[in-house]
Amino acid sequence: MRILVCIKQIADAESRPIITGNGSWAEYGNKTAYRLNRFDEHAIEEALLLKNADPGTEVDILSIGPERVKTAVRRGIEMGADRGVHINLEEKGYTSPLLKAGLIATYCKSAKYDLIITGVMSEDMMSGQTGPMIAALLGYPSAAGIIGLALNRSKYSISVRRELDGASACSMTIKLPALVTVQSGINRPRYPSLSNVMRAKTAVIEEIDQREKTTPALCENVHSVIETKQQRAGLVLCGTTTEKAEALWQMLHKKSLI
């Protein structure tokens, strides 16, 4: 059984993006802390649970992006994955998920995985497109936003539970090879063990260089990046903590809410 986990490295949620290029894009400063997308951490954990159940399972981690994303790939190896793959792609401005999905699908065609797992979306862009697109390009079935996964080895299939709107769910059986994207409730990601941390230090990450070759296809593009619209009054309270607390009490009292 060969499993590929596709991960994304993102800027930490508290970092402040700065609008650049006359409003055409936004960038993070040099001091920004990057980390593994949390949904992808759950994807890695789900793959490792399958590996724990059957040690013959191989788990590869793949990420696409500039040099820095190797750190996220290494984090996957620290958690217990076997190998890392980095598709090196300089991202200047917007990169279409379909372009990334195409590069990953091309890699998968030769590497042949039984199961591909990724997070339901990235925390920063929240599109959730790349996973299902990879599956479609490979002709694999897929299920997005799963909260349960079981392998039926003898039938070469998986049983998944998908989250639906309004707290209902559905379950289904999907033939392998397949792709699933996982929701955060599916498991609790492990902390890396010391031995895996040591192993990750020397692990060689296979690099596929796409920096020169990729000409972006005609696709959707970002016209501009703008400040969010203030949807409500947005009154910011000032002063010390005690003053703010008192001001809030007064305002709620005036509205007969307290």
Partner: protein, 323 residues
């Protein structure tokens, strides 16, 4: 120029759900077309013709196949491709629901189409149609252009007004024969548990990742106790952590509530969370990150650490009670 739009109707997932497409999707299409005459066709995959109800403001293409009895990405992807071939749309509109985000990207990839997800507004700039969505952890908005047609656009549920207007259009029925070799045994489980305490509460004090430690939930509970008819609630992550039961989750996949007062404590304000509380009366947000997206959706914004602010608020309230 956009003058042909196809809407994919939301599959019926729970028994209580209605079959008609969300009128908000039709209104979204009207905004996209503007003054341009436009043909809007709602595509309704179903297992028997009696399931289909005509809607206002759009023609309807009813697609019948036993594969449409239960939702699956395979069946809905195939329905979309067959319908797109027939309708030849400039834009394919799909609600950004649990079903929509499952199959919409597949349809886009197979048609080599542009794809823009969870759109919340349509804007026009120099004759160009722009689709607005949230990005960068909800801290900035992005305006997208389709770039080429067809484009697959998923639309955030509830983002567009849901009044039904216009005439009933024509209805056409086609029978399909879809093979479903890769997906089987689809079973629905309705795990939605009603929670009158939260659903009927006048005041909701909700906690998110920013509360940091499970023990801090006690602060949130103490704050809720100051108000009659109140409830606590949580964002998805707190429920995933097991700190709060899922029936207290607010958001697209949890409860949609509209209390008189909603206090968001340490909630960053993802679009999925906003969808569950945006109709609340007054919204107060407490967050130590001044750039948190939740502040754009709040009446009163407090940039503070919760561990300091809630005790201060409890003290202020106690002071007033003594008077």
């Amino acid at each position: 120029m956009i003058n042909r739009i196809m809407i994919m109707c939301e599959p019926r997932i729970t028994q209580s759900q209605t079959e008609t497409p969300d009128p908000g999707m039709v209104n979204f299409c009207r905004l996209v077309c503007g003054e341009t005459p436009c043909v809007i066709t709602a595509v309704h995959p179903c297992s028997s013709p009696s399931d289909a109800t005509p809607i206002r403001g759009a023609d309807m293409l009813v697609m019948i196949d036993s594969a449409f009895e239960h939702y699956s990405s395979s069946a809905w992807e195939k329905a979309s491709l067959i319908a797109a071939e027939k309708i030849n749309p400039d834009i394919i509109v799909i609600p950004h629901t649990a079903a929509g985000y499952d199959y919409a990207p597949r349809v886009a990839a197979l048609m080599d189409a542009s794809c823009i997800s969870s759109v919340t507004a349509v804007e026009n700039s120099d004759g160009r149609t722009l689709f607005r969505r949230s990005g960068f952890h909800g801290k900035l908005d992005m305006l997208y252009e389709a770039g080429k047609f067809p484009a697959v656009i998923t639309v955030m549920p509830g983002a567009f007004t849901a009044e039904e207007t216009g005439k009933h259009g024509s209805v056409e029925e086609i029978r399909c024969s879809i093979s479903m070799e890769s997906v089987s045994d689809i079973t629905l489980t309705d795990t939605s548990e009603s929670n009158p305490e939260l659903e009927n509460a006048d005041v909701v004090i909700a906690a998110g990742r920013g509360i940091g430690r499970q023990e801090n939930l006690e602060l949130v509970r103490s704050m809720a106790a100051l108000f009659p008819a109140s409830s606590i609630a949580g964002s998805r992550i707190l429920c995933d952590n097991g700190w709060i039961e899922y029936r207290y989750q607010v958001g697209l996949t949890g409860k949609k509530i509209s209390p008189r007062l909603y206090v968001a404590c340490g909630i960053s304000g993802s679009p999925q969370h906003i969808a569950g509380m945006k109709d609340s009366g007054t919204v107060v947000a407490v967050n130590r990150d001044p750039g948190a997206a939740i502040f754009s959706h709040s009446d009163i914004c407090i940039v503070e650490d919760l561990e300091k602010f809630i005790p201060a608020f409890l003290e202020a309230a106690a002071g007033h009670n003594q008077k």
